[in-house]
Symmetry: none
């Protein structure tokens, strides 16, 4: 649905909306079991809420596409993640809390292995350990090229972040990653004439990196891709009329919140402390995004039982959230992270919306299968949530007369 219409219709109101994101909430049954993590968890508070809410399962991108954390969250914030495409470089910078500035060009780097002829023999340098990556990044940090400043930061294993800071930099540069072994790293080509200067700087950086990494084993070269700049998007205030706050402790989520114009609040990282923060700042904002990370980590670690137990912990803190009496409360995840897959997945995500005038459906508990029968449908676009919250918060005018 077009945001244009919502932008035309939103109106002020003295109402509060809370979006609680339980990261990686959706799951799958394990082994012989028949219930997912959420269905296995004892969640009396969530179930009671589901009974008095409208429920369903949302798709962050589409039925088949597994979202990264960036796209998953953008969809929840009402921004279609295909239209609002964040480059890999920028996402990497957000993920480690790098202070990316307007005009910077960020790229995702791989340490790789090349043979004597310079051909890529391993695109991931044997998945080197993070401490080795740190050492190599320190080597690259010493590269000095006139007219630009380079930042080189460790991400994880073979992955690093490269940021160029200077004037007139452009991100339209072809990936140097040949995406296959046995090929030479492609030279960084400018995709538009304006990007020639930047491409030239990157080429010089790669040449210097080749010299400095020569003889290293196994990581003796770098590949770069996902050149991107901080996008300049309309914020949630413009699109939805919401003064929005993010209560999230991990850099990625703080970063994505900032991208859509949220004020990022300082808070302890546990849910009770996050809710305290929201309470303290209750009068300053219309919209609070509260992010719970550990459920996703448990899923990525393949730890079914821990994910179950973490969901139960969130359930235990719900009364504290309900005490705030938000006019609209959304509880969902940004994507599924089934522990049997040890990874994000494409499966739709359970969601509930609680408000005075949500029409009741027949859902009696909060779980993947139960939500199939909900009023929001078994696979609705995640981007519908914020507009529907606005409606329930009395923040949307009638269309036409």
């Amino acid at each position: 649905m077009g945001l244009d219409l919502i932008q035309r219709l939103h109106q002020p109101a003295d109402t509060k909306i809370v979006l609680l994101v339980i990261d990686g909430l959706g799951g799958l049954p394990r082994g012989q079991g028949n219930t997912t993590e959420l269905e296995t968890a004892r969640t009396p508070n969530l179930d009671d809420l589901a009974k008095h809410s409208i429920c369903g399962l949302h798709q962050p991108v589409s039925l088949s596409v597994t979202p990264g954390s960036g796209p998953g969250h953008l969809a929840l914030f009402g921004y279609d993640p295909i239209d609002y495409d964040v480059g890999r470089g920028v996402l990497a910078a957000l993920g480690i809390g790098f202070d990316l500035q307007a005009g910077d060009v960020a790229a995702r780097g791989n340490f790789c292995t090349v043979d004597d002829e310079g051909r890529v023999s391993d695109r991931r340098a044997g998945r080197i350990a993070t401490p080795v990556n740190r050492k190599l990044c320190n080597t690259l940090k010493r590269i000095d090229i006139e007219g630009v400043r380079f930042f080189v930061e460790t991400l994880k294993e073979y992955r690093f972040l490269l940021v160029l800071r200077g004037s007139g930099l452009r991100p339209e540069i072809a990936n140097s990653d040949p995406q296959a072994t046995g090929a030479l790293p492609s030279s960084p080509q400018a995709l538009v004439p304006k990007a020639k200067k930047t491409a030239n700087l990157v080429r010089r950086f790669m040449d210097a990196a080749r010299k400095r990494l020569k003889g290293q084993d196994p990581a003796n070269m770098i590949l770069l891709r996902g050149y991107s700049q901080l996008p300049q998007w309309p914020g949630m205030k413009t699109l939805f009329g919401l003064r929005a706050a993010a209560v999230a402790s991990y850099p990625m989520y703080r970063g994505v919140g900032a991208l859509v114009g949220m004020e990022v609040l300082e808070s302890g990282s546990a849910l009770p402390s996050q809710l305290q923060t929201a309470k303290k700042r209750w009068n300053d904002f219309d919209f609070f995004y509260v992010h719970v990370k550990p459920t996703d980590s448990a899923g990525e670690d393949g730890n079914f039982d821990r994910k179950v137990s973490l969901i139960e912990q969130v359930d235990g803190h719900l009364p504290q959230l309900l005490e705030l009496q938000p006019d609209v409360l959304i509880i969902t995840g940004d994507h599924s992270t089934p522990s049997v897959l040890n990874a994000h997945s494409w499966h739709p995500v359970p969601a509930l919306m609680h408000a005075a005038h949500c029409r009741p459906d027949t859902v009696e508990r909060f779980g993947e299968r139960a939500c199939l029968a909900g009023g929001l449908g078994p696979r609705f676009p995640a981007t519908d949530l914020i507009p529907l919250a606005l409606a329930n918060a009395g923040r949307l005018m009638t269309y036409g007369a």
Copy 2:
């Protein structure tokens, strides 16, 4: 959802996908009855599979539009049949297995009746019988015009196929069928300057046809429409990374498979023999499309009981299909063909997808009403099936990070 994104995200994997199309699968209850053909059929294997699958009902085109066989199949193959529009002439050529070549222009012809002034008095010449059509086609085959080769082939009743073969032919020609009686057949006009030569050739053909058919009763003239050329589309290998094979015996289905880049395999026409063929070529392809025709024919004949019995036969062969152990199995139809309508219809089509990581829903048997509660939803776009199969087959990367 855009295929652009899927094309960006697909990755290789050593997995197999099977799409079993039971043509015209969806149905309606008859007379006093309360169950459709599929609901009436005893299908223990399909029901057992449905219990362990994700189910739903798909729309090939939209909730209201009845698809022909071409559009119905294109949707199942992941190609939006509105964007990927095949002309009537090409579909007619595919339907009879005519060896249409790149550059040929194909058109759908009607034998019609015109009065002494040349005005159309019956657009279908009293629906002449197919043998009469053959005789008339033999007459038209003798038309010889310099610089082009004409092929005239019987389709059915009053319908025939006209193909022009030569250099520089274009399909942008206005229909000569006035779509009403009492009007003169329109002269074939070029819709773009480049098509003038072709329009002129068609005009000469029509003039010759008028002379040769003069005095015939009731078919004394022809009408032509649906001028089209073989489309040049990206194949399933390009869009989805799939080496695809078609195991179908009817020309139309072989033709539509070839349009999307499938290798069309030779096989017996019964399902067990088709599954044998798939087994023999198992290592050569990632994707197998297996087509079962008789269910649709029974529906078109209005034979409810025969359709029931044919569905039961397919059910009986399922164990042979499951022995192949595809990583992803889709079972559905290309459209509904309710026997009470004797025709294709607009009704959504039951579908199931079976794979290790399909999230279970609450569907306990394979039927129109049961599938309404499925995780795929009661009316999902048929074009979602291939992308979802790719996800389940480990063939799609994460979007964003």
